[in-house]
Point group: D2
Chain length 213, copies 4
């Protein structure tokens, strides 16, 4: 089995992106599966094009995109991506779309096809905080997740895919007040568990991990 | 013009629900439109059935559902509802669905057809904090918003509809630590602005109000 | 009985200070006591000098200083002021003391002589969130509180005095993300309760309102 | 040089206390100084008695007490301890003092004699978030810090002492929502830096690290 894992480059004035920092530290083989790691630019459209090419090239069985969610407290496995981009800050090439549809012929939203509840449960078993998130925002993270699931829906039916958000690293919050962070080793462990769980799980478990709002 | 506004009854151990507390204080006429107010039970399925009946009966031009988002800091106008229910607590009749599709023949998600950016902008002009939210959760609030937009899509094509979340009232946080709240008068003002804006706005403005995650 | 209530002028880039906005709206007579209201500059030293003069002039029985605690969720009645100034931003005349003792012949700290537990309890009875705080910071708020209690200790033995922090107003957080606020009417009610309680209470009640850290 | 470092045992329903978990992992020699580690019960009075005995026995040059501050985001070096105990929960032997003076003949407060600004600065240089805190609460942490500084003032004039609060470990927040944590290795590194800094620094640096409230 082959797993493609992507991480974004730094954006929004940050010097590092914990997503790719963690992705590049992953083992090359996890639970018997080959792990391909690729850095993707935090740029609308271009990020999806690069992902598409990489999928064509590598023909993975699973694609997991990883991004930074500065301000979140735990590993958050995204449930759904929506067909809209609404940027609060420019991307790394100066684009700032407002309320733009990502793909005109796409669904309003796509649900992750990763076993999200199993992943959350297994990360927590490793004593690392994790939860399901019901919004990946409206920036490039939601954009790539939507793009991935759109591509799967239209072109790569047999691939399973989804998105995981990671907190800031401690070094990123040294100059920010009251902002949570997570050690890089814990992020790497959590992503490793996510990959292992995806490789080994066909049907997700049914446990409650919803939010009232 | 006729506007139907719903608010949920109290849930999760609370004695009041700021949503209906505010809804019932709304004027009967706003911006020339008749305002119909109805309390809806915080119950999966039943809430949608009651809403459907009320729409059939009242034939409104606009439907705005309002719910409590305990822990949020500002008025949050929801952008999207997703086709899933995942309850972290029981509803008021003991239901606790996990990862259940709301309507098998519905879209993965529906976008609000209210002028959400205009509403947020106009509430802020009244000096009350407000923002667009990209998740209504996976509990009865998302459920009723999804149900409303599904009904509009399938049966009531000409109605515009959406959902607004309101913070706790101050009285609800007296026994909670570090939890934000909003005065009932401010919530009523904000909802009044939302109704007025919807009545008077055909095309939403394009201003950035997205989130990176 | 006469109660002197002070509120600071705006600082840190804010257009209003909720402290004086609330103070100036107080009734002139509360629980039979005369209420004298005075605005004080957010300036180290000068604020204490003006307070001293005002006390000499008015000969109040009680002095309550009020200040803005932007980011706090509730009314916070301060327990203690410490003999140090450590400014993170300049005051309104450009002073930015670092680790400076306020009065060389003062105690390390002074405790409020207001009935702080009774005040918190009574504000909460009005359905407005309140708690005891164990730090007034190290800026001008702690400075004036320390100055007041130093003056009481050295010159005005029979006066009772203390400090109350109030949250931002809603209008102040319209452009801030995820920041709590409190309606001006609720702040005025809470301060009125604080004054009434102080006038009517000789011995504070003993109820737990501590913090583990 | 000899440094005595204490950490509390678990309290408040927690299975571990990150304070002693980190303290027991410290090297036995840091910056040439001998490091003595001792676990102290989270109990009013008794904790101070044990500390007193240990100081008599070990005759350290420096004493650093360490405690858990669940909910804080970073390493917090305490500036001051106040002469009062006000417990919001019982200690580990069922005591729950309300507004009790710790030592009748003690000052209202004592300031840390550690180089707190240097410690914070050096921890941040290691890319670990840290700040000065102006309240150690009113529970056993403030109690032991006050007790330590009282003992130094009355009996052990040449010892330097103070208190450092540490966040929850990740494993402690797996079942808590939106609560920050810090990896044990980062806490150990930060405490090591604190000890090294104290050993090597006679006069603290003057940099701003105050709070407006």
């Amino acid at each position: 089995m082959k797993v493609l894992v992507t991480g974004f480059d730094p954006f929004g004035g940050e010097k590092v992106n914990p997503a790719f920092e963690a992705v590049k530290r992953l083992e090359d083989k996890i639970a018997g599966a080959q792990v391909i790691k690729v850095e993707i630019p935090t740029v609308f459209r271009k990020s999806i094009e690069i992902l598409d090419k990489k999928i064509e090239e590598e023909k993975p069985d699973v694609v997991i995109c990883v991004g930074q969610a500065g301000g979140r407290f735990d590993m958050t496995v995204e449930r759904v991506a929506i067909n809209i981009s609404d940027a609060s800050i420019e991307d790394n090439e100066g684009n700032k779309p407002i309320d733009e549809t990502i793909f005109e012929d796409g669904e309003n939203a796509y649900f992750s096809s990763l076993p999200i509840k199993s992943i959350v449960s297994n990360i927590r078993n490793e004593k690392i905080p994790a939860s399901v998130s019901n919004t990946a925002g409206t920036y490039v993270c939601n954009h790539i997740m939507y793009g991935l699931l759109y591509l799967i829906d239209k072109k790569y039916k047999n691939i399973r895919g989804g998105f995981i958000h990671v907190p800031y690293l401690p070094e990123q919050v040294v100059d920010k007040r009251s902002t949570p962070s997570m050690n890089i080793n814990d992020i790497v462990t959590a992503l490793t568990v996510a990959i292992k769980t995806t490789v080994e799980t066909q049907n997700d478990i049914k446990i409650s991990d919803g939010k009232t709002h």
